[in-house]
Amino acid sequence: MEISRRSFLKASGGLAGLAVCQPLVTKTAQAATDADSASHKAMLIDVTKCVGCWYCYAACKKQNGYPEVNRPTPDDPPDLAHNVWTTLHISEKDGVQRFRKQACMHCTDAACVRVCPTGALSYNELGFVQYDKEKCSGCGYCTQYCPFEIPRLDEEAISNDRIDKCTFCFSRVTAGGQTACSAACPTGAIKFGNRGELLEEGKARVTELQKDNAKASLYGDSDVLGGLHVMYVLDDAAESYGLPADPTLPAPAVVHEVIQWVGIGAFFAMVGGFSLNYLVARARIAREEKK
């Protein structure tokens, strides 16, 4: 089949336009998915049951192929890093140390997914934010805009600086299993299950705690970024556990979409300009040839 220059240009312009729109269409559609969808998986973390044994931290390391670790001392807890995907946030109240497992919250409306330009971060049909390291360009937008400051860049590997974060144990969970941290938790502080059921369980637990403690609350229901897939049962104010009381999408993460539409508009304007240029040029060439 012989393709004329004209039809090739038409076809390729259309394809390019579709390609540019594609990621945006997918993201918006999935972000709107109801976080309570029956298929969604989640974890419920009850800080009142956490004793700070660091098993989640060690299990996460083991699951993801990092070298085994010693138990950290509570005075010097490891910060999240490209090779620390879960850690403990330690706070103190009345001289007693309190622990909160800290890792990706797997938001329903995730800033990281919104700003990721390469599609490395995306929503899984089970509700969590999956990560394809092969697609990561290391731009670091997600590390700047995540309201929980979760993704971290491997800054030492300059030539290969990709981000890393909790993957919700993609291979285990998609195969029907539970996350490594919840499997290792000896006290039942980390529970894995269907989000809808865990939400109910969390609410019931909070009701129980509120009998003695008015500050008890559930963190991560649909009021937080469309609903988190890692929810907390807290016995004190969220800030005292190092959690933002009302996390919102940072402005650039929202503007990002507008900018993306502007970019798409500019692309079509450019294609239109070239087309016009082509038509004008062809007419002039034809005129000149007639002369």
Partner: protein, 365 residues
């Protein structure tokens, strides 16, 4: 207790091979044992290794309450040894000869969480019992009687020649059936095992037959005058003359005279509200004035301050015993009482308060 095979002692996985999936094994070794598992070089891998993490508080992260309690228990503090050494005038101030001797000879009796719940105790040469699996309830013969064997163990299991096993043993009871919470201590520092508020007494189970309202006439008459063991225990081992020694190579060991079977009723050396009895069963303990002679002279200067015949609770309880066959089997029977003639001449003073001078006479009809 049979010897464990070498491979049994060290292999982490048991026959099921499930330790790696168990609560304690799921996250690998280093979280408790430290060291460096990423190194293929043994010396590097073992740098900082904790062979027994429970000796370094590793269990307290999760089992905080039990460990806090246990820190005050006799199993952990050995305060029973200190109490008795100090009661004989022994100097246990820092750097003293007796502290050195205790470190060499007594510390091995100190036990850790792991020596009861994972392996045999170090003093019985250690070794895993079921791979590295944790046992919530320790094994009677591998753990409890591995240390408490020559006296309590032999009595309870019926291993003293001619003496039946304890009636509780014959009913199938294990050590932990009676001794549970108290093994982790009462939370208070205890002077010895008779001062533990959590410890069990016969009345805890047999309250219906003990007391002034008991239907049994003997129980009515002797309530709070005799300890239960006076009528219901039989011959047990008495130990003499323990000497601690150190070989030229530095090996620490002890030597005792052969134990002697016997049964002696004497006066209660620790009479209290909880133990009001006038007469109790006494056991000779292996101490002698020369116990620590290899470390120095006269290290127990006040030796006579504490009896060498001590309050005892032999674990060979029987319903029927020679002394409870009738009144005349005990009353007037000098041979079952600790009389001056039963005590070595150089220990008469130490036992002044427990020796029976006048045996209770035959009651008139």
């Amino acid at each position: 207790m049979s010897q464990l095979e070498a491979w049994e002692k060290v292999l982490v996985d048991n026959e099921d091979g499930q330790f790696g999936n168990s609560t304690h094994g799921i996250v690998g070794c280093m979280i408790c044992h430290e060291g460096d598992s990423s190194s293929p070089d043994m010396a590097t891998a073992h740098t900082g290794l904790l062979a027994d993490p429970s000796s370094a508080d590793a269990c307290s992260t999760c089992h905080a309450e039990i460990e806090a309690h246990d820190e005050s228990s006799l199993h952990s503090t050995l305060s029973g040894f200190e109490t008795v050494i100090e009661s004989r005038g022994g100097d246990l101030s820092e750097g003293s000869l007796l502290v050195e001797a205790m470190g060499n000879h007594c510390e091995s009796c100190h036990t850790t969480c792991g020596q009861c719940h994972v392996s045999r105790p170090d003093s019985a040469d250690g070794g895993f019992l079921d791979g590295h699996e944790f046992e919530g309830t320790p094994s009677m013969t591998n753990n409890c009687t591995a240390c408490h064997g020559s006296r309590v163990g032999d009595e309870y299991l019926g291993q003293n020649s001619g003496v039946k096993a304890d009636v509780h043993r014959r009913k199938g009871m294990q050590c932990y059936t009676c001794h549970s919470v108290e093994l982790h201590g009462s939370g208070e520092l205890e002077a010895d095992r008779y001062h533990n508020s959590e410890s069990i007494s016969c009345e805890d189970c047999h309250s219906d037959v003990i007391g002034t309202n008991a239907t049994n006439t003997y129980h009515q008459i002797h309530y709070n005058i005799l300890s239960c063991q006076v009528c219901h225990s039989v011959e047990y081992k008495n130990c003499y003359n323990c000497h601690v020694e150190q070989s030229e190579e530095g090996t620490c060991y002890y030597v005792t005279d052969p134990s002697v079977m016997g049964f002696e009723v004497g006066l209660n050396p620790i009479q209290s509200v909880d133990r009001p009895y006038e007469y109790v069963v006494l056991r000779h303990v292996p101490v002698s004035p020369a116990t620590f002679a290899s470390y120095g002279d006269n290290l127990l200067p006040d030796f006579d301050a504490t009896p060498t015949w001590k309050y005892a609770t032999p674990h060979n309880i029987q319903l029927n015993t020679p002394q409870n066959d009738g009144c005349n089997y005990c009353h007037g029977q000098e041979q079952i009482f600790l009389m001056p003639d039963d005590v070595a001449a150089d220990e008469l003073e130490a036992n002044e308060d427990v020796i029976v001078r006048q045996v209770p006479g035959v009651p008139s009809e």
